[in-house]
Structure formats: structure tokens, C-alpha cells
């Protein structure tokens, strides 16, 4: 009972902090946008893309974050359904656990578009739009091996192996790097997707392996953490690459520190999600395949200036 009350209070607090609930206000109704954490640049870019597009199409929006908490996500989904939203754009908290959440919305005739993370069931969400993490991972890994050469020691810092996207990226790295037998991975550590654990992991790895030629990281913050560690230890020649494409990574590339990243098109994926939702609300179908991939764009010093808030200017 107390747990439920506390959760409800937390949900109410998170809602009121972001935006007042006014699901019936606009002419076309309201779309709910649920992402992981609005203080993370990637998720903020998703929310920004979806929010801007929804308003452009004439919807009001409710933007909420579930903080990667499945229970909170369920509460929020039920809350916005209760408020009469026309549809939900959801970057879900957990692939498997979110199947039930999406099913609940479907049963209540509220269409859900999943962005970034897929669920292992077809036919529940009206669309599942995800980044081509394999393409992103293999592309940056190929650039990594071309830069450090086909021989020597390297380190892999995974982003968060509880996240399927991070697992996929790691698999992609190894699909490329494991084809080079003289390239030795001397350490592999999970850095929880954040800068500080990335730095701490690299600090300890460097003590045992001072001769590494490169570090390949599962996401941007971890790559930047590794750079911070390498800089403070005086290892400025070590090649670091990652995946994400935040403005911080862009700036690091332009400063000659991070050698490459792959920018995930967070805004584009969210915009397309809203477009599909709008089409579905109007016609009862999206007219497109449920599962769709978005490419990651390899970013180096040559094109880094085109990156802004996970949007690539052509």
C-alpha cells in the first residue's frame, strides 16, 4: 500500500514537473511522449524531435520520463491512457518487460509507436523504429581497425550490458574486430553507459595494460570518460571511438580527441514516429512495415560540424 502510494506520488511529481496534463485541450488531441531521462542529451533529443513534430501537426503533447523503471513506465502509460491521449510515442524501459505495457495500451485502443528500443513481439505496437546498431557498430569498428592497424592491443568498454542495444553494438564490434587475429582485446569492462564509470574503468585498465593502441566504447559518454582517463595518464596517442553522436562528442572530435563516433538519428526517429502515429490516428493504418531501422552516420573530423542535438544537417 505504502509502496503504491509512494509510486503514485512519484509519478504525479514527475508529470507535474514536466508539463501539465491537458490531454483534451487541442483540436487533434494529445500525444504522450515517454522517454528514459530528459536530462540525458540523447533522450532529450528524442523528446524534442517528437514534441516539435507533434505540435507542428496540431497536437498537444505530454512529455514524461520513466527513468528506465518498468513500474514507473506502466504507471505513466496507464496515467496518459486515463487522460485520453490519442497515442503514445515510447522509448521503452526494457524490451521484454514492456511487451505487457504495450499490450495494455493496444487493448485500450491507444496506438503506441516504439522508438529506439524494440520489443520481441510483433503486432502490438503500430511501429517499432530502431537504430541500426549493427550497422553503427560495424562501421565504427571498421574505422577503428583502419586507424589503429590490424595488430596490437585494444580495450572494449561496453555501455550497459543490461540494455539490448548495447549488447548489439558489442556484437557488431566483434563481428569486425574478431576477424583480425593479431588484434588483441586485452580488457573488456562494462561502464554503465556513463562518463565517470568510463573514466574509472579506463583508469584501472591502464594500470595493467599501458600499451593499448585503442579503446572502442559502446556509447559516447563512456568514450569521453575513457578520453578523460587517458589524458590524465598522459596517453594522448590512444585512439578512442564510440557511438551516439552527442554535441559533446562532436566537440571532442573537432578538438582532435575522439577520433570517430556514429551519430544515432534520435530526432529523425522520433519525428518519423510521430508522423506514423498521426497517419494511424487519421486512417487506422501506418502504410509502412512495423519494424524499421534508421542508419547511424559515421562522424569524423570531416563532417562533425554537421551534428547538432543528434540531428545531421545535409
Amino acid at each position: 500500500m505504502w509502496k503504491k502510494l509512494a509510486l503514485s506520488a512519484a509519478v504525479a511529481a514527475s508529470v507535474s514537473m514536466v508539463m501539465p496534463l491537458n490531454a483534451q485541450a487541442a483540436g487533434k488531441g494529445t500525444i504522450a511522449i515517454l522517454v528514459n531521462a530528459l536530462d540525458n542529451p540523447y533522450y532529450a533529443a528524442e523528446a524534442k524531435g517528437a514534441d516539435t513534430e507533434a505540435k507542428k501537426l496540431g497536437y498537444d503533447t505530454i512529455v514524461l520520463s520513466h527513468g528506465e523503471d518498468v513500474n514507473k513506465q506502466n504507471e505513466l502509460v496507464n496515467l496518459v491512457i486515463g487522460k485520453g491521449v490519442k497515442g503514445i510515442v515510447l522509448d521503452n524501459a526494457d524490451s521484454n518487460s514492456s511487451v505487457a505495457t504495450v499490450r495494455t495500451a493496444k487493448d485500450k485502443k491507444v496506438p503506441v509507436v516504439l522508438i529506439n528500443r524494440e520489443i520481441p513481439k510483433d503486432g502490438l505496437a503500430i511501429a517499432q523504429l530502431s537504430h541500426n546498431n549493427l550497422q553503427a557498430g560495424t562501421e565504427v569498428a571498421q574505422r577503428f581497425v583502419e586507424t589503429i592497424g590490424e595488430k596490437g592491443e585494444y580495450v572494449e568498454l561496453t555501455c550497459n550490458l543490461a540494455d539490448k542495444n548495447c549488447v548489439t553494438r558489442s556484437q557488431a564490434f566483434h563481428q569486425v574486430l574478431d576477424q583480425y587475429p593479431d588484434l588483441k582485446m586485452v580488457a573488456r569492462q562494462d561502464a554503465k553507459g556513463a562518463l565517470l564509470p568510463g573514466k574509472q574503468a579506463m583508469d584501472s585498465i591502464l594500470q595493467e595494460h599501458p600499451n593499448v593502441k585503442g579503446v572502442i566504447a559502446g556509447n559516447g559518454p563512456v568514450a569521453l570518460g575513457a578520453i578523460a582517463s587517458l589524458e590524465s595518464a598522459g596517453h594522448k596517442d590512444v585512439v578512442v571511438m564510440g557511438i551516439d553522436g552527442s554535441n559533446d562528442e562532436r566537440d571532442s572530435i573537432l578538438a582532435g580527441k575522439l577520433k570517430a563516433t556514429v551519430m544515432l538519428q534520435a530526432q529523425s526517429i522520433a519525428i518519423h514516429g510521430v508522423d506514423l502515429l498521426d497517419k494511424y490516428i487519421a486512417t487506422g493504418k501506418t502504410g509502412e512495415q512495423e519494424r524499421q531501422l534508421f542508419r547511424g552516420i559515421l562522424i569524423t573530423k570531416a563532417n562533425a560540424s554537421k551534428v547538432n542535438d543528434f540531428y545531421y544537417t545535409k
Partner: protein, 216 residues
């Protein structure tokens, strides 16, 4: 009397329990581990068999659909989008555009200093044409998944996740490498007539690296 009721109860209890259990189990079906695995994987797509697709469909498709390399490269240098529509295939914007090209010419250089082995082929051109070089990827490492992505018969939606889709691409690349190592042993000066796939996101910049699939 009391004894009799008690005896009757003793007799009836196991019977009723057994009957109840039988009725309850009547709705159940004991399955083997294999059956359980099959049940758990219901609704999941495993995707097609790589060797069957490669040998039965992809190789003939490549041979039939490869366009002269100089023609495709010429169009690509003019405008990527137009060339992709006219000569290429891409499943969606998540993939590069894939061009099946027929590479006819002579090997001018072999570079096996990297595991991404390369054979440089100068195309046979009409008199007066600018020389065009195509780099054939000879393995053992093949960069990219152009062979998988250039075949319209395979879609991402044939699989239920990126890992399976990627594994399929890797299998296809292994089949390509095996085929190349078995019967495409090139040396400088050799004439070639190869159907290959070239994948690109934009107009060519630098080497035009293609993956050979079928040759004469």
C-alpha cells in the same frame, strides 16, 4: 456406523483425489525439452537459410542484374540519388545503396598486406575513355554486408531482430569468401569478368570497393 463412515471416507478420498488429479491433468500435455524450445520460439522468425539463398537465388540474381561498372560509376559521379534509383537497390534509408556491377578488365595490382585483400582491376574501356579502377574485395575479411543488402529477396522483416539479421549477413560473407578462395585466384595481368556489388551512401570518394559474387 462411525467406523463404516470413516472407512468409506478413507476409501473415497484417494478415489476423489485421483479423479480430480486425472481431470486436472486431462487439460495438460507433458512436453519434451525440444517441444518446449519450439513452443518458446513460436512467433519468432529464424530467417531463411543463408546457403540456400546464396546458391539458389543470390548468385543467379547477381549474374543477371549486374550492369557495366563504367556505366554505373559514371552515373554515380553525376548524382547519387538518380543513380541509386536507376541502377541501385536499397531497402530503406537505413541501408546504403547497393549497385550490382559487371567488372570486366585486367588485374593491375594485388594488395594482400591487409586481411581485407584487394585486387585492383582496370576496366576495359572504349577507346578514349578515362581509365576506371574497381577494387575487388578478395577476403579473408569482407567489409560490409552489400551482398545481403543488395538482394531484394531478403528483408530485415524476415528476421525478428538485428542480431539474427547480422548473423545472416556474416554467413553470406563467409560463403562469398569460400567461393572466392576456391575459384577466384587472381594475379596481376589476369583478365576478369566478375559480377560484384558496390555499396555506398553517397557519390564515390576514394576507392570503389566491390564484393565479387560470380565470375566467368
Amino acid at each position: 456406523m462411525l467406523y463404516r463412515i470413516s472407512a468409506l471416507r478413507t476409501l473415497l478420498l484417494p478415489i476423489s483425489l485421483g479423479l480430480g488429479l486425472t481431470l486436472a491433468l486431462a487439460g495438460c500435455h507433458v512436453v519434451t525439452d525440444t517441444e518446449l524450445a519450439a513452443i518458446r520460439s513460436q512467433g519468432q522468425r529464424h530467417g531463411p537459410d543463408a546457403a540456400q539463398v546464396f546458391n539458389g537465388q543470390l548468385v543467379p540474381y547477381a549474374d543477371k542484374n549486374a550492369k557495366p561498372a563504367a556505366l554505373v560509376v559514371g552515373a554515380l559521379t553525376q548524382n547519387f540519388d538518380t543513380a541509386c534509383k536507376q541502377y541501385g537497390f536499397r531497402q530503406s534509408d537505413a541501408f546504403p545503396c547497393n549497385f550490382w556491377i559487371r567488372v570486366q578488365g585486367k588485374v593491375t595490382r594485388i594488395d594482400d598486406s591487409s586481411r581485407v585483400g584487394k585486387a585492383y582491376v582496370e576496366l576495359t574501356q572504349a577507346a578514349g575513355g578515362d581509365p576506371v579502377d574497381i577494387v575487388l574485395q578478395m577476403g579473408p575479411v569482407i567489409v560490409g554486408t552489400g551482398v545481403r543488402d543488395g538482394f531484394p529477396g531478403i528483408k530485415y522483416s524476415d528476421f525478428d531482430d538485428q542480431t539474427k539479421f547480422a548473423a545472416f549477413g556474416q554467413e553470406i560473407n563467409k560463403l562469398v569468401v569460400a567461393r572466392v578462395q576456391h575459384s577466384l585466384k587472381l594475379k596481376v595481368g589476369d583478365p576478369v569478368d566478375v559480377a560484384a556489388v558496390y555499396s555506398t551512401w553517397s557519390e564515390p570518394a576514394g576507392e570503389i570497393r566491390a564484393i565479387p559474387v560470380v565470375w566467368k
